[in-house]
């Protein structure tokens, strides 16, 4: 297998799914009509409601929170099960579930005056499920913040070539905010300065870090050796001893080295290969603190001062790295076939073997919550359904805008899969970075491999960090809304931000970010199932065939329930027995699993009741109509 075949398979599947399934549903079930007035035309006010070309809507100017989902999920899944299961789920998921979810969310809002699904969903959601879900949002955010903070901290602690680029991102972001919005400096000039400086800081992190034997040695380069010394001096505060040790049964922690030629992992300063213990050193806490300060600024400062310019710089760098890598992936089989060939096995394991004392990662249901975005999820941020529904010029634009955007997200996930699959060694993030580095050599030459890999790490960090900083912002708003009345102190944004961060750190210290990610994935898929459920009931109420939304809803529900149980079981078996902080964090995650499970049951029951109500209503009306006809 090589990158060419992936590109070809994806192109064919997406073409067939879009033209022969999505268009059929659009034409025969939803029956969109270009002549029907959309809310954008009916309530045009030039601000919220404004008819907008579908080409503009497709790339709507709401800022992206970046697409961490399709990258993190895919590299995790490829490492756990191999590239083939990930590829199959990406293709099948987007073809039968993903586009349907996003397209339907838009079309239902359009058919409800661009307002909301309230007429249907209030019957479904309020009051019980609504309250449960509001609580659920906070834990959902806690999980994603924990998963992302965990992997970023481990990466910064393990890779001394990474921190400079991230520090530069923060400093340039802060400066860019003032230069653009306060001092009104020239946009082009400011963009050039901040992007080039940040890019250089990322690329040159490993500059000079090659020893006499031609191997990567971070004690050699001026930049990486500086951070090695920083880590050492911080670690000396504990006499070079670990603060605590954790284990990661999934082996995805960046501090765990890649297996050698014999297939065994070597012991390092941070990892004991015999016991599997990972040392949490004071320097780990230093980088966790750094990332929390970064996120604190984004969560509490006005958007224009930090979060927005950081995202702006990050978007340019991501665009450059991903865009050039995508070109490299397409050209690799023709120019550098060795780069384009897959090193990761097609199937590593299906994971069904059961050992009562070990982590269990069966392909079903865990693959389907590990890869959420890219298979079924929305195009992150580019299209908010309420904004889109209020700006859709023609009803018939719903499919190219909603469905088309989902297929685009899928291609980003596929690129991640390609990057991970061509890199032979390293953990999840390491494989992704090495893959990006290899793909960039197709265009920039072999000499760029070291710097391209550094850019791959930087891009990965940007994508994850830009999401995390905003998640903390949303968490503090949600926490103050949710519990502010009972505890007025939480209405203070600094208090609510700090509490959110402390809870996140507790989860991070468990050392198993993959479990956090899988729980987040389950929560995400539960949201997807809820969205599809609303659509299913709406279709039933409209007397349309709900099958295209109903079966994905059922699948996502059952999968979510099973996945939360498996994750809770894994935490109980592999982490709880360790005791200490890890055990507390694991119990917290088990409680969240229980919350997810109960939420899913209640939502499923309410949805089933509503569905039955409309089914009976339809039957009664049909009988009455038949009687009247007689």
């Amino acid at each position: 297998m090589n990158t060419f075949w992936i590109v070809l398979i994806a192109a064919v599947v997406i073409y067939l799914a879009y033209n022969f399934y999505a268009k059929k549903i659009d034409r025969d079930v939803i029956k969109t009509d270009a002549k029907k007035a959309t809310p954008a035309k009916m309530y045009m006010d030039g601000v919220d409601f404004m008819p907008t070309s579908r080409n503009v809507l497709y790339g709507y100017h709401f800022k992206s929170i970046a697409a961490a989902g399709p990258i993190v999920g895919v590299i995790t899944a490829a490492n756990l099960w191999g590239w083939l299961p990930a590829l199959l789920w990406l293709m099948i998921g987007v073809s039968f579930i993903g586009w349907a979810s996003d397209y339907s969310a838009i079309v239902v809002a359009v058919r409800n005056d661009g307002n909301s699904l309230s007429a249907i969903s209030h019957k479904l959601i309020a009051p019980r499920t609504r309250s449960i879900l509001f609580t659920f949002i906070f834990f959902y955010l806690l999980l994603v913040a924990g998963a992302f903070l965990g992997i970023m901290t481990a990466l910064m602690a393990a890779r001394p070539d990474v921190p400079l680029g991230i520090i530069a991102l923060g400093v340039m972001g802060f400066l860019a905010g003032y230069m653009l919005y306060k001092w009104k400096m020239d946009l082009i000039l400011v963009t050039a300065i901040v992007v080039i400086v940040t890019l250089a800081a990322m690329i040159f992190g490993p500059f000079g870090a090659i020893n006499a034997e031609g191997k990567l040695d971070f004690t050699q380069g001026p930049i990486s050796s500086f951070f090695v010394n920083v880590n050492k001096s911080v670690d000396s505060t504990s006499g070079g001893n670990a603060i605590m040790t954790v284990t990661d049964p999934t082996n995805a922690d960046p501090r765990i080295p890649a297996p050698g030629a014999d297939g065994k992992r070597p012991s390092t300063a941070l990892y004991d290969a015999t016991t599997g213990a990972i040392k949490t050193m004071p320097s780990y806490l230093l980088w966790a603190l750094f990332l929390l300060v970064f996120s604190y600024l984004a969560a509490t400062r006005p958007i224009w001062q930090f979060a927005q310019p950081v995202n702006y710089i990050g978007f340019w760098i991501t665009l450059l790295a991903i865009g050039l890598s995508a070109i490299g992936a397409i050209l690799a089989p023709f120019i550098k076939p060795d780069v384009g060939a897959f090193a990761l096995p097609a199937v590593k394991t299906l994971g069904f073997e059961y050992d009562p004392a070990k982590a269990w990662q069966p392909l079903w249901p865990m693959l389907f919550v590990t890869i959420a975005c890219g298979a079924i999820s929305g195009w992150h941020a580019l299209i908010g359904s309420i904004g889109t529904a209020r700006q859709l010029e023609y009803e018939t634009d719903a499919l190219p805008v909603g469905g088309g955007a989902m297929f685009t997200e899928n291609t980003l996930a596929l690129l991640s899969l390609v990057a991970v699959s061509i890199a032979g060694t390293g953990g999840g993030a390491g494989r992704f970075a090495a893959g990006i580095g290899s793909l960039l050599t197709v265009l920039l030459g072999d000499g760029f491999k070291l710097f391209g890999t550094a850019l791959g790490f930087g891009t990965f960090m940007i994508i994850v960090l830009t999401v995390t900083q905003l998640v903390f912002r949303v968490m503090r708003v949600t926490l103050s809304e949710w519990a502010g009345e009972a505890m007025p102190a939480l209405k203070n944004m600094h208090v609510s931000t700090i509490i959110s961060m402390l809870l996140t750190v507790l989860l991070v210290l468990t050392g198993t970010w993959v479990y956090l990610w899988q729980l987040f994935g389950a929560a995400n898929q539960l949201m997807a199932a809820l969205s599809l459920l609303i659509v299913t009931v709406w279709l039933k109420e409209q007397k349309k065939n709900p099958a295209y939304a109903l079966w994905p809803t059922v699948f996502m529900y059952i999968t979510t329930l099973a996945a939360t149980l498996v994750t809770a079981r894994n935490l109980f078996v592999t982490i709880v027995p360790q005791g200490g902080a890890a055990s507390i964090g694991a119990w917290a995650m088990i409680l969240i699993s229980a919350l997810l499970f109960v939420s899913a049951i209640l939502i499923g029951w309410d949805g089933y009741t509503a569905y039955q109500r409309y089914t009976k209503g339809t039957t009664t009306k049909t009988k009455k109509a038949a009687a009247a006809a007689d």
């Binding site: 030039g46 979060a307 927005q308 929305g378 580019l382 359904s385 309420i386 708003v477 969205s531």
Partner: protein, 130 residues
Amino acid sequence: MVKPLEVEIIAYAPTAFYHCTHCEVAWREMGASNRIHDEQVESSLPEDLTRDYQAVSDWVREIFRSHGDRLRVKVIDAASVEGVYKSLRYNVHRYPAVIVNGAGRFIGSDSLPSAGEEINHLLVGQNVTN
């Protein structure tokens, strides 16, 4: 059918960060998303730029009221890839900037009335031609 007049507005626009579509749907139904997005939009621009954007919004509403379907208006956030591209293409260095039919450039909030006059002039010309 007369082709609508193209009006592009490049301005620093308020920013809201959105999550995936299905989450937005679910959150909105719980009444959570408005507060989250409003809080972001409120602090997304300094006061003077917020006033500038408000002036642009009022102006867009006004020209829509006057000309409706005969206009095709596109608002582009300056701090975006498209914003940078359009700024380079039209040689714009100050915002808001109104570009009428890809040619007429009107820079700054003060020039919005002039842009409106240009649009009136062009649409009257269209009427005469037709």
